[in-house]
Symmetry: C2
Subunit: 224 residues, 2 copies
């Protein structure tokens, strides 16, 4: 790993401080938050749509959508039934704690149990910028190929759960699941994984159950 310039270290350290402020703001309002990351088109917005619908009536949910341009994703989250805040990064390749803070200020946090942040579609840059969420979740996508843990180790190392999406495409793609899983295991031993298909619905039940438990354990009031 090459050495970072002091200016880069300072930026990251300032970001961490703001991320801590964001976390305190979430805690004060009893909101559990997760940062959803993936490369473009892995299924972040689709998983969020399924999560909104699957938890409807059980948890009050808001979404913060990070994108370079357009509000396509936030519009989809809103259509699925959640309060959605769009952040256009203006070309930046990741969300940071400043952008997240500005989104948090637009939400009446006490109304929500769960906040999902959809980060910018990118397997690299978002891994370096904490937002202050409680969990980092990565979506891998079968058509991306089985070598991605090996090629994007920082991202795979830093997450708390892994959704392996588009498993409905496995019959049509050369994807060695053992090779993929070995790469994940080396980087992030024991990582909880959810093989899913947002297209067919397969595997989503396990994801929703796990997420509900995480929210409930953080804030027992929300699950009662």
């Amino acid at each position: 790993m090459k050495q970072r310039m002091p200016v880069v270290e300072n930026i990251l350290s300032a970001n961490d401080q703001l991320a801590e402020e964001n976390r305190n703001r979430l805690e004060a309002a009893d909101v559990f938050a997760l940062n959803l990351m993936a490369s473009p088109g892995a299924g972040k917005t689709s998983l969020i749509e399924h999560t909104i619908k699957g938890l409807s009536g059980q948890l009050d949910l808001a979404v913060v959508d990070g994108d370079i341009a357009t509000s396509i994703d936030a519009d989809r989250a809103a259509a699925a039934g959640a309060q959605a805040i769009q952040i256009n990064t203006g070309g930046e390749c990741h969300l940071d704690a400043v952008m997240f803070q500005s989104a948090l200020k637009q939400l009446e946090l006490s109304k929500y149990d769960l906040l999902i942040v959809e980060n910018v579609g990118n397997l690299i840059c978002p891994a370096s910028f904490k937002l202050g969420t409680h969990l980092n979740v990565l979506i891998a996508s079968i058509p991306e190929g089985d070598d991605k843990p090996y090629k994007y180790p920082t991202m795979y190392r830093g997450v708390d759960a892994l959704v392996i999406n588009k498993i409905d495409l496995l019959p049509y793609i050369d994807f060695d699941m053992d090779y993929f899983q070995r790469g994940v295991e080396v980087l992030n031993s024991g990582l909880v994984t959810f093989p899913t298909s947002c297209r067919t619905g397969e595997g989503l039940e396990d994801w929703l159950t796990w997420l509900q438990e995480k929210v409930a354990n953080h804030n027992p009031v929300a699950s009662s």
Copy 2:
């Protein structure tokens, strides 16, 4: 678009100067170079493998492979029969002109007609850093979804050709080709596109023919 900080402008301007030096070095050796960009798993390495094999005996080809970690891609290019130089970016999300220059210094350029640079898998950052190549080529991948031109406009705006890969998966995915193509047309009117499947070989002939013509027109000696 938000304003860039002066420090960012300076970095990009220094990069542009080095990119020009790289271009001069390529011209002096009569080497035609292309910068291949795409998100992770879109098929950059597969397209390079097919290009190496398809042009074997007609053009002498070298590959410069940019990756965060590992030499998986360079190993595949070498196995397909090309001279391959690996650049590990040490976490950086894109290649820049400095990294490309260091790779060029490792190659005996006069031996080659065509140099393909495989950039880091990322739809955002590589678009901002010129390398000094003659062409920028983007690979879109069907499973990424049909909204990508709208969501990553800078990348789509800045390229000279677009390969639309994994068309063999069209029957299994909700992908509206008209919607996709309209987005491309707005950003980059008249852009030459190559629908391909690196898995089945469909469409690769057109890509190879076009690329050979580009090399021949740049350097008539190489095509004789």
